[in-house]
Amino acid sequence: MSETAIKPRIEKIPLKEQLAQKLPVLLVPVLAAVGLIAIGNPASWLTLTVAGLAMGMMIFIMASGLTVVFGLMDVINFGHGAFVAVGAFVGFTVLAWLAGWTASPSVFMNLTAVLVAILAAMLVTGLLGLAFERVIVMPVYGEHLKQILVTMGGLIVAQQMIYVVWGPDELHMSRPEALQGSLVIGEAAIEKYRLVAVGIGLALFLGMRHILKNTKIGLLVRAGVENGEMVEALGYRVRRLFLIVFMTGSALAGLGGVMWGLYQETITAHMGSEIMVLVFIVVIIGGLGSVEGCFIGAMLVGLLANYTAFLAPKVALISTIALMVAVLMWRPQGLYPVVKAK
């Protein structure tokens, strides 16, 4: 076969399109800069920015599973918030058992206690995810209406079970010694815990990116999001892949729950459904199914919520809705619309 018959040709992406690709990424620094101008005081700005990033990272952790699950199987889990709440309560119980470790002056013991709490929470919510997927979600694949209803029902039951196990009162979840207090940088006071949250969130995002780009299972997930049927035709069981992703997403929601609990220091059975509002906003902003979009959306929401909470506390939640509306006016499918073959 001659080389000329099939002249190698690669379509050049126009500059404008390339720019449009990168544009959403730029929104985060732009928002931070606007925040600096609006707030005026660099020290307060730094405090708020770190707080915003920390909040964004936690929302990202909780939202990432939801968005990938949607991308892969077209399933949206309105009960995702239940995993957040259960994670927080399991974390609470484990930290209470390890009270000796959390009160110890040793930073190492403190962090080990948190790590054990996180692992326990992830294990429980991961298994809960398994049960949820098999019992609640599987019978209604492909039926959006029933999915919304049934997963909402799952949320109600899960919240009620939290009441049964942990009682109806809100619980106080205190941070271990090492994570209390703030670091003072110049005039800015930055809570240590927020730095930890940013660290964990960033590590997770990078890890997730690595898995999606460089491992076979990551490739399968990305391919499955685009065309699940073709992945099946190549001999892979998408259902099983989906179950793994669903469990991972649930475990991540559990992780997010522990982190959110330590951040707010109080936990209630309803915390999941409250956070879900932010999670949904982030997922919509990012584009349903897109991990990168979800990350950027989470950062934007976190920063904006903290800036407005400082500048005009009453409109904090409204501002995130306004952001969502603005993004959707610009890109009706979110920042990074996911390519679907069908």
């Binding site: 949206i76 209604v140 209406l145 029902g153 109600i156 049964v164 939640l317």
Partner: protein
């Protein structure tokens, strides 16, 4: 005549007809059949929720759209009436324009949300409405200068609708005919009329097209129906009905606050009532609302007894504690979505066939 009143959409099941008649007669004569403040409160609540749940069914059952903003429209109606009454005094004029304003604002909101988010996917609409409704609830509780914040608004309604007003001196069946009973009948007849209007809507050509769109949006679009337009209109109609139900609540309670109108709990209750009663039947709303509210009011007591009886068994007693009744409803809800998506009404109709 009767068939025409029902727009030709009869219950189509003997047992269902009987149940509906029992509900209708009980509500129509509630002040005399079940004297006492608590039972009258319950009866009025049932009337209001029948309208609210039926209006949600219009959206969920007939248009196949899941919205989490239904309590927002309910609240807009209630606050419309409440604000009119509390700012300009207890006149019928204020009552009417407040109600109309509430319905108008609800329609505008619904139009905006519908045009904005119904283009994409049902799932998208569900998420957007969830976010918008919770932001609205927060906004209302924060604008305390206008809405009274978390405490809500207390206001006077026209004197003829309050217990202080006596219509006739004599008692009828041992019940004194006061303004409260007049208010009840206002709620009752308004509910009956609104329900019949909705029955008319779903049985009109518009309603039938809506169902066609629900069953196969792609095909309906291909035939030439403007799917977004139909869905948005359904959203607006359902929002207006919900707002009117909210106004009825505002009149009945003489109080409007976030907890009685806007809370997520009420949204969940509505969802449970529609699904358990029967989606896409409207009559399901009647049965769903009646059973749910009766259970909410009286089941607590029964479960209390059960919890008492099992108090020796630790886990079981917490599971059947009266506060946990939502747990069992949640389970029932999931089971009904799986096994009888047409709810009680669907079951009754199938049983006949």
């Amino acid at each position: 005549m009767l068939t025409r009143l029902l727009s030709g959409d009869t219950p189509r099941s003997g047992l269902l007809t009987a149940l509906l008649l029992i509900v209708l007669i009980s509500l129509a004569f509630a002040p005399f059949l079940f004297p006492g403040t608590k039972s009258l409160e319950t009866a009025a609540r049932i009337c209001i929720f029948i309208v609210l749940v039926a209006s949600y069914d219009l959206l969920l059952g007939y248009a196949g759209i899941v919205s989490f903003a239904h309590t927002m429209f309910f609240g807009i109606g209630a606050y419309g009436t409440a604000l009119a009454l509390s700012t300009t005094g207890p006149s019928y004029g204020a009552l009417v324009w407040g109600t109309a304003a509430g319905a108008g604002v609800a329609a505008l909101f619904a139009l905006a949300i519908g045009l904005f988010s119904l283009r994409v996917k049902a799932i998208f609409f569900a998420m957007v409405t969830l976010a918008v409704a919770s932001a609205f609830a927060v906004l209302v509780s924060q604008m305390s200068w206008l809405t009274g914040g978390e405490d809500g608004l207390n206001y006077k309604i026209p004197r003829e609708l309050t217990p202080a007003f006596k219509l006739i001196k004599a008692k009828v069946f041992d019940v004194s005919i006061n303004g409260k009973i007049l208010a009840y009948y206002l709620v009752f007849f308004a509910a009956v009329i609104l329900f019949l209007v909705m029955l008319r809507i779903v049985n009109s050509p518009f309603g039938r097209t809506l169902k066609a769109v629900r069953d196969n949006a792609f095909r309906a679009e291909a035939i030439g129906y403007r799917v977004v337009w139909y869905r948005t209109t359904a959203t607006v109609l359902s929002a207006v009905m919900a707002a009117l139900a909210g106004s009825l609540l505002a009149i009945w309670l003489r109080y409007t606050g976030p907890a009685t109108t806007l809370s997520m709990e009420i949204m969940i209750d509505i969802l449970l009532m529609v699904v358990i009663g029967g989606m896409g039947t409207l009559y399901g709303a009647v049965l769903g609302a009646t059973l749910f509210i009766l259970a909410q009011t009286y089941l607590h007591y029964l479960m209390g007894v059960a919890a008492e009886a099992t108090s020796a068994v630790p886990v079981v007693s917490t599971l059947v504690a009266p506060e946990r009744w939502l747990l069992w409803l949640g389970v029932l809800f999931i089971l009904s979505v799986y096994f009888f998506p047409t709810g009680i009404v669907g079951r009754l109709r199938a049983g006949r066939a």
